[in-house]
């Protein structure tokens, strides 16, 4: 297996526990866990060392999502060539857990309608499976990763197998109360569903999280490395090799008339020594993510259009809008409770538009404002007043993060570049443009977001944070599933079309990215693939 992110981690665990011989090859290392015996321990910007200041931070500081993870790669290790944020804000993590190192834990099932195919039968992006094909696997993964939630009976967000969630906080109750006249069938709230890492000595106490894109300490939300790896790493049939960067597959033709081939060898480079390593396996499973997986496939088979005509096409990411304000009703009130895992509530519904209503999901996020990016709003205040106002803003901020469906386009894609990384491997060019529908979604979200925050007592200015394509960090579509090899890269069992022993199992296989976060679906697909492989290869043996 190449990679141990959302898909690879679940699959590695599933196969190892079933007794299969599993070798996982991962770039980078197993990130350190910062678990503490104190379940509400939280590092301040000072304790983190960087104070929330990155290379691009500008002063006077303004609200922005700051790129500060210590796990981000150096420029010469990146998958993609340097890009401006405005084109595609490409987040990369080349370590065990992959982009799940940034994951906020949100675990929502795709609904039945998310699997239904839209548009004409010629639509090249169609699910070859239905909700019922994943339902059992969703339940298994929810239990494996300790997802909290309630039974809400929402068609848009199917119920699952949950632990009890944390209760709404005072700020959540304020938000609900002040917006109650807006709630109905087209706008509703429900308890967030998150895959938590349970504290020691506690069965149902969840830890805090921070928002995606910060250096989220593992141990708070589910991570393969902290939650599942400990159970399998000592098994004799399991091995994880860190600092191992796979650079190419070699293949041999197994049936010339049909062009069927098998992956005969995997070539990797030891990132620490530079040594080339060659591995042979009965089955090769690529779990490197929505950008890295097509990169590897194009680098391996790019000279054969029969193999790669569809690889890298239909890159998708979740369009997003982030808004924030300080809620006046909380000013000069004592802080009565800790902030828990930050987003205890989600919103869901449909935004009215001139065409069809647009489905959406939104985080209702509130945590102490540790990074004083609000100071520019206080620039005219005298010092003594600034300190008083800053204390009120610190405890009263609310952030709404809206997310909508992506619109697949063949123009959005990855392709090999002439530029190379430090391992002499071609990087990729990312071609990406937001569609009119996605921009309309962002516009409609802003209208609703302003109204919700204003109702909740949000003080002006209600800020809209810059959010660029790629900042959804839900890279999908580039190795999409399909029934038709002319319209996809992998079949309904995630097997690469034309190959006998190559599978892909990560976000790249999702053909249509809905409004819902894809991580749980990726994990359920991985669990399903695990069952399929165990059945297929155990039976054949």
């Amino acid at each position: 297996m190449i990679g141990a992110g959302a898909g690879g981690g679940i699959l590695a665990y599933r196969l190892a526990m079933a007794g299969e011989d599993v070798l996982v090859l991962c770039s980078g290392k197993i990130p350190k866990s910062s678990e503490s015996s104190n379940p509400v321990n939280e590092l301040s910007p000072e304790e983190q060392g960087h104070f929330g200041i990155g290379p691009e931070t500008r002063f006077p500081a303004t609200p922005e999502i700051t790129h500060l993870s210590t796990l981000f790669p150096q420029p010469d290790e990146k998958s993609s060539v340097p890009l401006s944020k405005e084109i595609f804000d490409h987040y990369q993590i080349h370590h065990v857990n992959g982009l799940q190192n940034l994951w906020n834990g949100i675990s929502l099932r795709y609904s039945e309608s998310d699997f239904l195919n839209q548009g004409s039968p010629d639509n090249p992006c169609q699910w070859p499976i239905q909700y019922k094909d994943l339902e059992h696997h969703y339940s298994e993964v929810e239990q494996l990763t300790n997802v909290v939630g309630n039974s809400d009976h929402l068609a848009m967000f199917p119920d699952g197998s949950f632990l009890p969630p944390r209760e709404p906080r005072d700020i959540d109750r304020l938000f609900i109360q002040r917006n109650r006249s807006l709630f109905g069938p087209h706008l509703f709230y429900f308890a967030n569903r998150k895959a938590i890492h349970l504290c020691e000595n506690s069965s149902h106490t969840s830890e805090m999280s921070e928002i995606c894109s910060h250096d989220l300490h593992s141990g708070r939300m589910y991570r393969f490395s902290t939650s599942l790896l400990p159970s399998i790493k000592k098994r004799s049939n399991f091995r994880l090799r860190e600092h191992t960067r796979v650079i190419k597959f070699s293949s041999t033709v197994t049936h010339a008339p049909s062009g069927k081939f098998s992956v005969s060898e995997v070539t990797a480079v030891d990132e620490l020594t530079g040594e080339l390593i060659r591995i042979r396996a009965d089955v090769v499973i690529l779990c490197a993510g929505g950008i890295e997986s097509p990169r590897l496939l194009l680098n391996s088979f790019g000279d054969d259009p029969n193999k790669t005509a569809q690889v890298g096409l239909y890159l998708q990411d979740s369009p997003r809008l982030i808004m924030t304000s300080s809620l006046l009703p909380l000013w000069f009130k004592p802080i009565k409770e800790h902030r828990g895992y930050g987003d205890h509530l989600l919103l869901g519904g449909e935004l009215p538009s001139s065409e069809e209503p647009v489905p959406f999901v939104a985080h209702v996020w509130s945590d102490f404002v540790k990074l004083p990016q609000y100071l520019h709003t206080l620039r005219l205040a005298p010092r003594f007043l600034k300190e008083i106002l800053a204390r009120q803003i610190y405890k009263s901020a609310m952030v709404l993060i809206f997310q909508g469906p992506s619109v697949p386009s063949h123009k959005n894609r990855v392709s090999l570049s002439n530029q190379r990384d430090r391992f002499s491997q071609p990087q990729v060019n990312i071609h990406y443009t937001l569609s009119e529908k996605e921009m309309e979604f962002i516009r409609l979200s802003e209208i609703l977001g302003r109204r919700l925050l204003k109702n909740a007592g949000g003080l002006p200015p209600i800020l809209r944070l810059p959010s660029f394509p790629g900042a959804g960090i839900h890279y999908s579509g580039t190795c999409r599933m399909s029934k038709d090899p002319d319209k996809g890269v992998v079949d309904e069992n995630l097997k690469f079309f034309g190959a006998t022993n190559l599978y892909v199992c990560d976000g790249s296989v999702i053909p249509v990215l809905s409004k819902t976060h894809p991580t749980l679906t990726i994990m359920a697909l991985a669990h399903r693939l695990g069952d399929h492989l165990i059945k297929r290869y155990t039976q054949s043996q």
């Binding site: 000072e46 200041i53 931070t57 002063f59 500081a61």
Partner: protein, 88 residues
């Protein structure tokens, strides 16, 4: 890295929050070095600073504003400010 504590302490004179963040002085050169906007200002200061020179003689008024914003930001991101909040 240049022994920079002396330079930082003199630069902190720009800030009304000096007394609250002076304890962080040894960490500031690295933060400034890693930031694209602050790095050239820091380099200019350490190359030109003498005991006789004031920051206002080295930096423009806009640059002084940037530095003051930075020091102010540090205070409100620091544990010193956090300790003024009564968090359960």
């Amino acid at each position: 890295m240049v022994d920079s504590s002396h330079h930082i302490q003199r630069l902190l004179r720009l800030s009304p929050y000096r007394s609250q963040i002076i304890r962080l002085a040894d960490r500031l050169p690295k933060i400034m070095e890693n930031n694209n906007q602050l790095r050239p200002l820091w380099h200019r200061w350490i190359s030109q600073d003498t005991n006789a020179l004031q920051p206002q003689q080295v930096f423009s008024s806009d640059e002084i504003k940037i530095l003051r914003s930075f020091f102010e930001y540090l205070y409100f991101a620091s544990n010193s400010f956090k300790s003024t909040m009564k968090i359960p």
